[in-house]
Each structure stands twice: as structure tokens, then as C-alpha cells.
């Protein structure tokens, strides 16, 4: 690598140009990283592998606006292979206001069985008994506590929309999870039943913790078969499939983001290729002189490719470094924008950094290829005769 110093000299020969080129690599690279992280976040949570194992979800076959009778819970509980069964009802409603900033998951649940099914959640403050002994008590995630600066015993008022009631809840217990975010609020469904008798007897989704993978598969079919011809047919699927269902509702977002990413890569290649062409053209005569000094065609090729690669790598490392350092403040600054919901899903994924590095190398090689070949193939005599 005796050319290294020569390559570096060439890279920094025109400082303004180098800085501009590096800048035009960093900016799109940042976008690619952000979009890549978002795509990854859509795919990331695989509950079957990372969190509680073998959970299945039962809901009304028709859709989310239809409830199931609560008697189904007992029925499922008696099936062989069902270790624990609990209920989930989306409460929704409003906390403070309807802005995206104040949106988080709020569910009416059954405290007795909740943590038996979600056994990957650990109580970090208070205890399950504290929660169960106060009918208006709430179980709140660590992340959510931190976001609002809540303390144990704080009161929270939720104004219902689906359910025309306002609930006053007291934080009794806090939970944390080892993987992913803990940003949910859960309260006793009995409290909602008292406030709104019409809620009694119905349930939105039923979650079952199964003994093992075999039981999970078998129970999914068995549950749906039992209720197939009832007035309330069900559909039961794994937790992962249930959550992927929400992702597929977004439609072609993934395709859109991927194609945007590809176009952005193209744009960086164009800009970088232009710079390389400019700097190679200015040096036609110089390269001819190098050739007369005994540099082979291949050496010239390596020299120019090395230059574009170095340029791209500097931009790449700065861009990726900036992304790693800037992610937290960047996420925070997006909290008040329309994309806050997406921004909070973004995390630092090693795969995304690898893709970023791959893009950098690709840009470095492709942008230098044309100018490098042209410069190395040009006859010496023509090069010497060349007028800048």
C-alpha cells in the first residue's frame, strides 16, 4: 500500500470539493440509515423468539369492531395445552389531548391472569397484589413512567371515546421488559364494567399462553373449529402473525421506502461519479506524466479507484458515526412531528449500519470505475498533449 499517501494527497488536493463531496455522501446516507432502521423496526419484534413464547391470540373473525362473548375465555382455559388465558380490551380514549405525543396503548385487562400470560414482563415497582387490591389501579410500563415523569400513586384521567366514560386511575404497579419498549398502561376490566355495564360480558381479544409450540399450533386450529359455526366465529393466530397483521395494514409502505432508498443510492453515485470525473479530467496530463515515470495502467486504475473509495469511506464513516451519535437527539426532536409514532420505533440496528457501509463501498467503487478506466486507457501521448 505504498500508494496510500499519494491517494490521500489526491483526495485532499481540492479541499472545498472534497468537503462538498463528502457532504453529499453523508446526507443521503443518513436518510438511508433512518429509513432502513424504520424498515427493520417493522420487522423486528419476533415475539416467538425474543419474548414470551407460544402465545396465541383469538379475536372475532369479522374484524376489530366486533367483540367476543366473555364465556369463550373459560372455554379456552379448559383446553389441553393452554397454560394461562387472559383478556385484552383496547380502551383508547384521550390522555390530556389527542395529539400523537400523548398517544400510548391503554387496555382493560384481567389482573389475575395478565402476568401469567405475559410472563416476560417483570414487576419492577409495587406488586401484583397492590394492583389487584385497588380496582381503579393501573399497571404502567417503565418507559411510559419515564416519559411523563409519573410517580407511584399518581392519578391519571382517561376520557373514553369508544366507551363513553372517564376513568380515574391510580398508578399502583410498574413493569419492565427485557426486550423492546414498555410503554403500555393496563387497568382492571372490572373497573370499566362498573362504570359501563354494557361492557360486561364482552371481550376484544383473548390471549392464551400455550405449553409448547405443538400446543400453540394445535390450539390455534382447535379454538377456531370450536367456535366456527357459532354467532361469534373466531380467528386465532400466533402473536407474531397478529402483530404482522397491523404491519400489513400499512400497505406498500415497505416497498415505497425500499424504492426510495435505491433511488437515493443512485443519486449519491451520480454526484460522487461526477466529482471523480472532474478530478480525473483535471489530471489527464499529470497521469500521463505518471505513466512515463513507469506507473502501469493497473496502478493508475488502482490509484483512481482508491481515491474514490477513500472519499466514499470518509463520508461513510462520518455519516454512520453521525447517525449513531445523533440518533437519540434526532428521535427526541421528531416527537412533536407527524411521524413521532414511526420515529419512536427506530432503534440502532447493527444490520442497518452494515447496509450503510455496503452502500458506501458500492458508491466508492461505482463512482470511480468510469473515470479510472478512462484515465488508465488513455494513450500517454494523447494525455501529454491534453489542454486542461
Amino acid at each position: 500500500m505504498k500508494f496510500l499517501s499519494l491517494i490521500f494527497k489526491n483526495v485532499f488536493r481540492k479541499k472545498t470539493r472534497t468537503i462538498l463531496t463528502i457532504g453529499s455522501i453523508i446526507l443521503p446516507l443518513l436518510i438511508i440509515c433512518i429509513m432502513g432502521s424504520f424498515l427493520k423496526a417493522l420487522d423486528a419484534p419476533d415475539p416467538a423468539e425474543t419474548r414470551g413464547m407460544f402465545r396465541i391470540v383469538t379475536r372475532h373473525k369479522v374484524g376489530f369492531t366486533n367483540d367476543l362473548p366473555i364465556s369463550y375465555v373459560e372455554r379456552i382455559r379448559q383446553l389441553d395445552g393452554a397454560l394461562a388465558v387472559t383478556t385484552f380490551d383496547w380502551f383508547g380514549g384521550t390522555y390530556i389531548d389527542n395529539s400523537a405525543r400523548n398517544f400510548f396503548a391503554r387496555f382493560a385487562v384481567e389482573p389475575e391472569t395478565f402476568l401469567q400470560v405475559f410472563d416476560d414482563a417483570k414487576v419492577t415497582r409495587g406488586s401484583i397484589d397492590d394492583w389487584m387490591s385497588d380496582r381503579a389501579g393501573a399497571l404502567v410500563g417503565e418507559d411510559l413512567m419515564k416519559k411523563y415523569g409519573w410517580r407511584m400513586g399518581d392519578q391519571i384521567v382517561l376520557v373514553g371515546d369508544i366507551y363513553p366514560v372517564a376513568l380515574q386511575l391510580t398508578i399502583r404497579t410498574v413493569y419492565g421488559v427485557s426486550y423492546g419498549g414498555s410503554d403500555g398502561l393496563f387497568f382492571n376490566r372490572k373497573y370499566l364494567e362498573e362504570a359501563l355495564p354494557s361492557f360486561e360480558g364482552t371481550v376484544g381479544t383473548i390471549w392464551t399462553k400455550c405449553r409448547d409450540a405443538e400446543a400453540a399450533n394445535r390450539l390455534s386450529d382447535e379454538i377456531d373449529r370450536i367456535f366456527e359455526n357459532s354467532p361469534y366465529p373466531t380467528i386465532t393466530e400466533s402473536e407474531k402473525a397478529f402483530q404482522m397483521g397491523f404491519v400489513s395494514m400499512l400497505g406498500n409502505v415497505k416497498l415505497l421506502i425500499t424504492s426510495l432508498g435505491i433511488i437515493i443510492v443512485l443519486v449519491i453515485i451520480l454526484i460522487a461519479a461526477n466529482t471523480m470525473a472532474l478530478s480525473a479530467r483535471e489530471r489527464v496530463r499529470e497521469i500521463a506524466v505518471l505513466r512515463t515515470l513507469g506507473f502501469t495502467r493497473r496502478m493508475i486504475l488502482v490509484l483512481i479507484l482508491g481515491e474514490s473509495l477513500t472519499l466514499a469511506l470518509i463520508g461513510g464513516f462520518l455519516g454512520l458515526g453521525g447517525f449513531i451519535l445523533g440518533l437519540k437527539p434526532f428521535k427526541a426532536s421528531l416527537m412533536d412531528t407527524p411521524i413521532s409514532g414511526f420515529a419512536s420505533a427506530i432503534m440502532l440496528f447493527p444490520e442497518v449500519l452494515l447496509v450503510g457501509l455496503g452502500v458506501t463501498v458500492l458508491v466508492g467503487l461505482l463512482s470511480g470505475l468510469g473515470p479510472a478506466i478512462r484515465a488508465s486507457q488513455r494513450p500517454i501521448t494523447e494525455g501529454l498533449r491534453h489542454m486542461g
Binding site: T16, V62, G63, G92, T94, P231, P233, A277, F342
Partner: protein
């Protein structure tokens, strides 16, 4: 003395490759911006064009959408007898109590999504002037029949004319296909409301839609509903109701601007590089121009014009690419989830003249940022030094 613009434009032609690469870079940035924005525009368009200003939608207080709302059966006659409701030719009020249910249907391309099944009353279609049956016939009450919007029938399985939508013991025959001229019902399936209440064992409607005689009557009804504590309902103009849902398009719009601005800065760096290179390669020429009597401001202006031409070429090409992409590759209908109702909304990409203009403004901004520094370098070239410079 004028500006040597002709000289600058000729230079763009002489340096074909550099000009071409820079133009292409800017063009791609503009095209990306246009595609994302036309997606947001198409989505927002559905909500902006939906709903009439004379119609009122009655919901339960605090409900953000029909999905969360409920209007009980005994409230309906109280609403129907409010003064100021337009009458149909037979003298009955133009009002339709409706039920909204989310159907979890399978998409043709794979995956599932929630589609709004709307139970409408007799007057329901009269209240939506854009509604047009394009195939088959209207559903008959009490027969579990539905009509499907053409957008939904193209995107979801079992939603074509003559198909059966089936969920366990539930089944509905598709007897007609309708079109609602790009408004909200284009993402819906319609059936008869009493049959739907019965099928889903519901005790309450979701909403009541009614037509008022004029805007004074409209405001009076909205006020009457708001101050009546017995009802706990609220009325909104139908137009306002849908406009609130435009927020669904906001994230995409934000994304479009975010990517657009950052990429435009990146592209302006590229343009700056090009301009610096062309200025430094022409130092002697610039000095000659100065000797010939062109003033510094004239040189400055001429190089800014050159950068603007470069960028404008990119902007125009970008608009062309954008138009081609939207009309050829993205001409079909697409869908996403409306986060207010958690249901599918079907829409088409929409490239408006306003967006194209924004694309051009973007490119001009790119050219200006990219041109100003190199142009001032050119203008302040020292004549003697420059003329002495070799190659």
C-alpha cells in the same frame, strides 16, 4: 454592458458529461420528492373532497370517528325531527342512521386489512351525490347483500361481482359495484343498515348522516345538538369530519419534505462541485471577459444564471420523470390504513401543478445554493493573476 449568458449556456453544452450527471442528480431528487408528495396529495385528496358542507354527521360526544361512536335507536327519532333537515320528494327527512363495522379482509397481494362495511338506510346513497352504481344492482334489504366500491373490489379477495364474502356463519353476496368519484365511500362496502344491526347483534347505530336546508340551518342543528344534555351527541359538518382525517397523510407529507430537503442540500453540494470545477477550469476565460469590459456583477450574475440553468434543466427533467412515474408506474390505485378509523383507505397518486411548481422551486433553490459561491469566486478573479495562470 449585458451579461454574457450565451457564453454560459454554450459552456453547459460543451461539458456534456458533467452537465448531464449534475442535471440527472438534481432530476432524481426532484422526481423522488414529487412521487412522495403525490402519494400524500392523493391520500389527502380523498379526505378533502369527501363530504358535503351541507351534510351533518352526528356522532357521540368525544368520538373522533364513526368507529368509536354510538347513537342509540331511541336517539334517532329525536335527531330526525330537528328543524332544518332537508326533505326528500316524499316529504321524509333526508337522513340516514348508519352502522360502521370493520371487516378483516384478505388483500389480493397478500396480508389482511380492515375494510369499512357501512350499513346505510334508504336515503344513504342520496346523501352522497358522487355515488354511482357502475355494475350489477343495489342491494335488497334483508337479504345479506352488499355492494362493493370498485377500489375495494380490485384490491381484496372475494369482492368481485357475484362473489361471496364469508366469515364462518356470516356471508354476504356481492350484487353490485359502485364508484364514489374518489371520495371516502370508494374505500367502503355498503349494505342495508337494519340487516347489519341484526347480523352483528348491535343495539346502536354508529352515526346519523343528514342533509340540512342551508348553512344557517346547519349551524343551528350543530348548536342544538351541542347544548342538549339528554343526547350527549355532537354534530359536525361532514366536510369538517373528513378534513380532520387528513392527518393520515401528514406523516407521508413530512417524510416527503424531510427527504426532499436533505437530498436537495446533497444535490446542491454536487452542483457546487460542478460549478467550482467549471469556474476553475475557465479562470483564463473569465479574466479575458473582464478585460473585454464585463463588470464583476455581470460575471457574478452570469455564473449564477449558469448554475440556475443547470438546476432548472434538472428540475424540468425531474418533473418529467415524476409525471412519467406517476402516470405509468404508479397509475393504479393503492391503499393504506387510515389511523383515525383503523380502516383501509383506497387512493390514487395525484401529481398537481402545485406540486410540479414546488419541484421546480426545489431545483432553483438547489441551483442558487450551488451557484452563489463559485460565481463569486469567478467574479473576484484577479485579472493579472488569472491571465498569467498556465493550464
Amino acid at each position: 454592458m449585458g451579461i454574457p449568458v450565451k457564453y454560459n449556456i454554450r459552456n453547459l453544452i460543451v461539458r456534456k458529461i458533467t452537465t448531464g450527471l449534475t442535471v440527472l442528480g438534481i432530476a432524481l431528487v426532484v422526481a423522488v420528492f414529487l412521487c412522495v408528495m403525490s402519494l400524500a396529495e392523493g391520500l389527502a385528496r380523498v379526505f378533502k373532497s369527501s363530504g358535503s358542507v351541507r351534510n351533518i354527521i352526528v356522532l357521540r360526544q368525544n368520538s373522533q370517528s364513526e368507529v368509536q361512536s354510538g347513537v342509540t335507536r331511541d336517539q334517532v327519532p329525536l335527531i330526525m325531527t330537528l328543524p332544518g333537515i332537508e326533505r326528500d320528494t316524499d316529504g321524509s327527512p333526508l337522513a340516514s342512521p348508519e352502522l360502521v363495522v370493520g371487516l378483516n379482509l384478505e388483500k389480493i397481494e397478500g396480508g389482511t386489512s380492515n375494510v369499512t362495511l357501512r350499513g346505510i338506510s334508504e336515503k344513504g346513497s342520496l346523501l352522497r351525490p358522487q355515488f354511482r352504481l357502475i355494475e350489477g344492482r343495489m342491494f335488497s334489504p334483508g337479504l345479506s347483500e352488499v355492494i362493493v366500491s370498485s377500489g375495494i373490489s380490485k384490491r381484496f379477495k372475494n369482492c368481485g361481482l357475484g362473489d361471496i364474502i364469508r366469515f364462518g356463519s356470516y356471508l354476504w353476496n356481492v350484487v353490485g359495484i359502485f364508484d364514489a368519484g374518489g371520495t371516502a365511500p370508494d374505500s367502503e362496502i355498503w349494505t342495508e343498515v337494519d340487516g347489519a344491526l341484526n347480523d352483528f347483534k348491535r343495539l346502536a347505530y354508529s352515526s346519523v348522516l343528514l342533509r340540512t336546508t342551508d348553512s344557517v340551518a346547519r349551524d343551528q342543528i350543530i348548536k342544538a345538538l351541542a347544548i342538549d344534555p339528554r343526547l350527549a351527541l355532537e354534530g359536525k359538518s361532514e366536510r369538517a369530519y373528513y378534513e380532520e382525517q387528513t392527518s393520515t397523510a401528514e406523516p407521508i407529507k413530512f417524510l416527503g419534505f424531510f427527504i426532499g430537503v436533505i437530498m436537495a442540500i446533497g444535490a446542491s453540494f454536487g452542483a457546487m462541485n460542478t460549478m467550482y470545477a467549471t469556474v476553475s477550469a475557465r479562470t483564463q476565460e473569465i479574466a479575458t471577459l473582464r478585460v473585454l469590459g464585463f463588470s464583476r456583477p455581470a460575471i457574478l450574475a452570469s455564473f449564477i444564471v449558469e448554475a440556475l440553468c443547470l438546476a432548472l434543466l434538472g428540475g424540468l427533467l425531474g418533473c418529467l420523470l415524476g409525471i412519467l412515474a406517476v402516470n405509468l408506474a404508479l397509475s393504479g390505485i393503492t391503499g393504506t390504513t387510515n389511523f383515525t378509523t383503523f380502516s383501509e383507505v383506497v387512493f390514487a397518486f395525484r401529481l398537481t401543478p402545485k406540486l410540479l411548481l414546488m419541484g421546480i422551486v426545489f431545483s432553483i433553490f438547489t441551483g442558487l445554493i450551488g451557484g452563489i459561491l463559485p460565481a463569486s469566486q469567478a467574479a473576484f478573479t484577479k485579472i493579472t493573476l488569472a491571465l498569467r495562470q498556465v493550464g
